[in-house]
Point group: none
Chain length 188, copies 4
DNA sequence: ATATAACCGAGACGGTACGTCAGGTCTTAGG
DNA sequence: CCTAAGACCTGACGTACCGTCTCGGTTATAT
C-alpha cells in the first residue's frame, strides 16, 4: 500500500524544536522558515511536505506544546467550572500574547488555518460547554440563555483582556468572572 | 533657530489616508510602504522621513483613525447599553477581521502600538463602562461585581467570537448578551 | 554529491544579453540591475546569485562580449596595417564613447575588470603588433624602436581623440597616422 | 552693478579641499555631494551655487589641483619637447587613473563637462603643439604631416597606456616616444 | 536710510537604484 | 515515495545618493 521511503519520524520533532526556539526568540514574525529548516538540519522541502505554510507550522507547534488538560468532571459543576476557567487563563497568560494574536490574524486571513487554530482550543472550550450545560441542568445556572452564550461570557473576557485591553489574567479575575456569570454561591 | 524648508503639512494627511486604505484592504501584512507612498503621490523617502518603519507608520495611522462616537446617554440605561453594544458589534463586524487581529498582534509586539490601539477603543469602552455604572446605581444590574467585569462580559464575547471562534456578530447576539448580563427586563 | 536543482543555463545568457543592451544604451551608470533582471525575465535575486554586484556583472559581460576579428595577413604588411587601423577606428567610433570611457574607468577601479577589458581588446591589438613586427622585418618600418611603441603610436591616438580631445575618428585620420608612422610609401 | 551679498571666498577653498579628500578616498563614485558639503561645514545649496553638478565640481577640483607648468621655450625644440612630454607623463601617472577615466566618461556623457575637461589639458597640449610646429619649421621633424597628428602620436600613447593597456608611464617610455616620432638625433 | 539682491544654513522633496531578505514553488540526484 | 540541496519567483524592505526646492536670516551695494 504505502511504498517508497518512509518518513523519518525523528525529523518532525527536530523541526518543531527548531521552530519553538525560533518562536521563542523572535515571535511569529521573527520565525523564518529558512532558519528553522537550517537549524533542524533539514531541507526546506522536507518542512513544507509536513506543513503547507508558516502558519500551519506554528499551529502544529502550538498544538504540540499544549499539554493535555486531564479533566475529570466531578459532581460539583461549580468547582469544575472554576478549575477549568482558571486553567485556561493560566494557559493563555503563559503563552506569549503576540503568538495568540498572530494565530488569530492568520486565522482571519486563511480559513484553513482558522480551522486548525480552532481545533487547538476545541477541547478546552468543549469541556467548558459540557460543564455549563450540566450546571444548567442542575439548576445552578440561569437557564434562560443558551450555554454557548454563557461560555462566551466566561472565556471571551479572557481573550479580550489578553488581546485588547492588555490587562493581566489573574486567577482572581477568573473567579470573579465565575461569580458574575453564575451568581453568588448559595449558602446551604 | 535652525529651520530649513518646512514640511509640507498636506503630505502627512495624504500618507495616512493612503495607508488607511491599504490597511483596510490587506491588513498589516498587506500594507506595502512602496504602495502607500505611490498612492499618496510621494517619494518613499518622504514617508521614511516621518516614520522610521512600517510599524511606526501604523502606530500613527491608528492614532489618527480614532473617531469620536457621539453618544448621548438617555434616562434608560438598559436601552443605552443595548444601543452601545449593538453599535460596537456592528462596527467590529464591518471592519475586516484580519485588521483587528493584526492590530492586536502589533499591540502585543510593540507596547507603543498597544497604547495607540487601546486609545482607539477607549471612547467606546469608556461609554459602556459609564452606562454600566449608572445602571448599577439605578439597581438595574447586579451590584456584587465591579462594573469593569460586566463590561468585559458584554464586550469581550464580541472580540472572542470575532477573533477566536469566528462566529458572526449579529445584533441578536448582542441583545442576547445583554439579556444574559442584565437579566430579563422586569415588566412594570 | 550535493546537488540540488541545477542552474538554468539559459538564464545567464539572457541576463548578459539584457545587460549588454542596457550598457549599450546608458553606459555603466545607466545600467540598472532591476532593469536588466526585468528585461531578462528573471528575478533580481537570480541575478545576484550569479554576480554579487553590478561591477561583477559588468566584468562578466565584457568578458563575454569579446568577439573574434577574423584577420588574414597578406603579403602586404602596409596594406594589412592600414586595414587593421581603419577597422579599429571604425569599431571605436561605432561604439558609444561613454561606454568605452566607462570601461576604462571601471578598469582603473577594479583590477579584475581591467583584466577583462584588456582581454577585450587583446586580439585586435595583438594583430597590429604582429603585422608591425613583420613590417619591421621586411624593412618597411623604422627598426630603431620596439614594435610595441609603434603600435602605441598607431592605436593610442585613436583612443586619445575619442576619450580626450573628442575629435572624430575618420578613416582619413587613420591613414594619416599610418603615413606618419611608416613614412610615405616608396614609389617602386 | 553687482549687488547683493558677496560670496564668502573662503568657502570655495574649503569645498574643494573636502572634495579632494573625498575623491582621494573613494574615487569619483565614492564622492558624495552631501558628504563634501558636510565636511566643508556648508549647506548643499551653497555648493550647488558654485557648481551645477558633481561632474562640474570634480572638473573644478582637478583644475585647481593642476599646477601651472611654467614652460619657457628655449632654442632647442627637441629638448623642449622631451621635457614637455616627460612632464606630462609624470603628471598623468601621479594622478589616480580612475579619476582621469572618470573625467573622460563624464566628458562623453555631458558636452559641457567635456569642454571643461578639455580646457584642463589645453595649455599642456597647446604647448606641445607650439613646439612641434616650431620644430617642423626648423626642419627637425617630418613636415609631411600636420603638427596636430604628431602631437597625437606623442601624447596619445600616454593616455592609451594609462587608460587602456594599464602599462606604466616611465620617463624612459616618454623619451622612446620622442625618438620614434622625431627620429634619432643627428650627430653634428 | 532703506530697498534690493544675492548670499548662507538647514533641510524637505522627488526620483532612482541599490543590495538583502522572506515565503513558497520547482527541479534534480539519490536513498 | 521520501530526502537533501538548492535554484527560482515575487515582492517588500530600508538606505543612499543626486539635484531641486523652499524657508528664515544675513550682508553688501545702489538709490
Amino acid at each position: 500500500m504505502t511504498r517508497g521511503r518512509p518518513r523519518d519520524t525523528a525529523i518532525e520533532g527536530r523541526l518543531l524544536a527548531a521552530a519553538a526556539e525560533e518562536l521563542r526568540r523572535g515571535g511569529y514574525e521573527g520565525l523564518s522558515i529558512d532558519r528553522v529548516a537550517e537549524r533542524a538540519g533539514v531541507a526546506k522541502t522536507t518542512l513544507y511536505r509536513r506543513w503547507a505554510s508558516k502558519a500551519e507550522l506554528v499551529v502544529a507547534l502550538i498544538a504540540s506544546m499544549r499539554e493535555e488538560i486531564p479533566f475529570e468532571p466531578s459532581d460539583d459543576p461549580r468547582g469544575d467550572l472554576t478549575t477549568l476557567v482558571v486553567t485556561i487563563a493560566a494557559g493563555l497568560s503563559s503563552t506569549p500574547t503576540s503568538l495568540i494574536a498572530d494565530l488569530a490574524a492568520a486565522s482571519a486571513r486563511d480559513p484553513r488555518v482558522g480551522e486548525s487554530v480552532r481545533a487547538l482550543w476545541a477541547d478546552r472550550h468543549g469541556a467548558v460547554t459540557a460543564v455549563v450545560a450540566k450546571a444548567q441542568q442542575a439548576g445552578i445556572v440561569l437557564s434562560h440563555v443558551a450555554p454557548a452564550v454563557l461560555v462566551d461570557q466566561l472565556v471571551g473576557p479572557l481573550y479580550y483582556r489578553l488581546l485588547v485591553t492588555g490587562e493581566p489574567l489573574t486567577p482572581d479575575y477568573a473567579r470573579t468572572l465565575m461569580l458574575s456569570v453564575l451568581g453568588p454561591e448559595e449558602s446551604p
